[in-house]
């Protein structure tokens, strides 16, 4: 599985991006990625539609997460204000890897 986290916005305006190939990291950590993905209900997050919303909180972050496995790609864009605790855990876990 290939998982990419990107972060834009924020006071600094400096973007952040990280790609993790779970076949190339410690198997325990790869298992952890699977676990936080499931517990965050990532796949149930509604795909972003730019016509329906924007990040209206000045200087808050916007996160995009892309999960690619077996040729299928799921991509979700989430505003910082819309993060629930489980999605926060997912982002935090990926950032710490």
């Amino acid at each position: 599985m290939l998982i990419t986290l990107t972060r834009t916005g924020g006071f600094t305006g400096i973007p952040y991006a990280k790609t993790i190939d779970t076949t190339k990291i410690d198997p325990e950590k790869a298992k952890g990625v699977e676990e936080v993905l499931v517990s965050s209900h990532f796949s149930k997050v509604k795909p972003f539609d730019s016509a329906q919303g924007k990040n209206s909180n000045p200087d808050a972050f916007t996160y995009s997460i892309s999960v690619e496995r077996e040729g299928e790609i799921q991509e979700r864009t989430i505003f910082e204000n819309d993060l629930d605790p489980e999605l926060r855990k997912l982002i935090s876990y990926l950032q710490k890897l």
């Binding site: 834009t8 916005g9 924020g10 006071f11 600094t12 305006g13 400096i14 973007p15 209900h41 149930k44 997050v45 509604k46 730019s50 924007k54 990040n55 209206s56 909180n57 000045p58 200087d59 808050a60 972050f61 916007t62 989430i78 505003f79 910082e80 204000n81 819309d82 993060l83 629930d84 605790p85 999605l87 926060r88 935090s92």
Partner: protein, 341 residues
């Protein structure tokens, strides 16, 4: 503050009713968390309103700590009469005070809402959090990751910047997208810089015109996050990249990221303000600052673009300093130099 979750409450209720055991468990937990946050926030807002009614008129600062959680506002660590002892708390207290003072003494604005709203700041938000933001009701500051960024309370202009997002919210309420979003960012940089200049007693010629100076650790090749004097030159680092801000319309960046590049294209109106301020001379908060304040609070619609802002600032300069004044000419010349008019 609207606390929004990804799944709307009516869907969560439907999942509780119709989902399988696992789905029900998740939906119930989500509802529980949402309700708990809502109740806490309501209780806090009531307390804040009561304190505001009872407090004497004038500057009212409240400093909280999230203790590295994401719960807002967190626990109280300082008030107007009992300043915090924590370093980040002290910095937020000082920066908030300097911002209140600029708006009150120079523009006779009584706090963010011009009605004496208490100024609430939460420090130590989340873990290694590289950001500061205005959430619609309060300021929030991270401690930085320690490797690239220090604590976001450190530069005084960061506090001025965030509080100005509040002022914008209560006045022009500029849409946070594309050119109006870049103007929203630019007004925050302008008044953030003016807070710093006034606190250091610097004239336009003496000021460094940097935004976020001191926010980088020594491992980053950069002076600050943005330069109003020379957009695009604030940092150039192998890890975080290069400052991408343009100083005129020839470098305008079209992008879907960051709400249409609001932190990039703000370099253009930022530079227009700098050119105006140095052309007029003296203390920028007393000249160009007054023109920009008048424009923000009385002239702009939420959908304003760069050209709207340019013509509105020329009009404000004429109204404040007189038609044909050197101030009015300086504003017009500045917007011409950055290619907006």
């Amino acid at each position: 503050m609207a606390i929004c979750f990804i799944v709307p409450p009516h869907i969560l209720s439907a999942v509780v009713k119709n989902g399988n055991a696992d789905q029900k468990d998740w939906a119930e937990k989500s509802i529980e968390i949402s309700e708990s946050i809502r109740q806490k926030r309501q209780a806090f807002d009531s307390l804040r309103s009561l304190r505001q009614e009872l407090a004497p008129a004038g500057k009212q600062r409240l400093i909280y700590s999230a203790n590295n959680s994401t719960d807002l506002p967190g626990v109280e660590i300082g008030t107007e009469t009992t300043p915090p002892t924590d370093t980040a708390g002290k910095e937020a207290y000082t920066g908030t005070g300097a911002t209140y003072d600029l708006y009150w003494t120079t523009y006779q604005r009584n706090s963010i809402d011009n009605r004496g709203m208490s100024l609430l700041s939460t420090v130590h938000y989340s873990e290694k959090y590289d950001n500061a933001f205005w959430d619609g009701e309060q300021m929030v500051y991270g401690d930085g990751d320690g490797q690239l960024f220090t604590q976001f309370t450190k530069p005084i202009d960061v506090t001025g910047h965030e509080l100005t997002h509040g002022v914008t919210q209560y006045t022009a309420n500029l849409d946070y997208q594309d050119q109006s979003g870049a103007l929203n960012e630019s007004f925050s940089d302008v008044f953030g810089s003016l807070v710093k200049q006034q606190s250091l007693h610097q004239t336009a010629a003496q000021a460094d015109w940097l935004i976020g100076e001191g926010i980088f650790t020594s491992s980053v090749h950069g002076k600050a996050l943005r330069s109003m004097k020379a957009p695009g030159t604030a940092y150039d680092d192998p890890v975080i990249g290069k400052d991408m801000q343009p100083g005129d319309m020839s470098g305008y960046v079209t992008t879907a990221d960051d709400n249409g590049g609001v932190h990039i294209n703000s370099g253009i109106p930022n530079h227009a303000f700098y050119l105006t301020a140095v052309a007029i001379g003296g203390n920028a908060w007393e000249s160009a600052g007054k023109i920009w304040y008048e424009t923000l609070t009385t002239k702009l619609k939420s959908s304003a673009n760069f050209a709207d802002c340019a013509y509105a600032t020329v009009q404000s300069a004429g109204e404040i300093f007189g038609t044909g004044s050197k101030e009015e000419k300086a504003v017009e010349e500045a917007w011409k130099k950055v290619g907006v008019i």
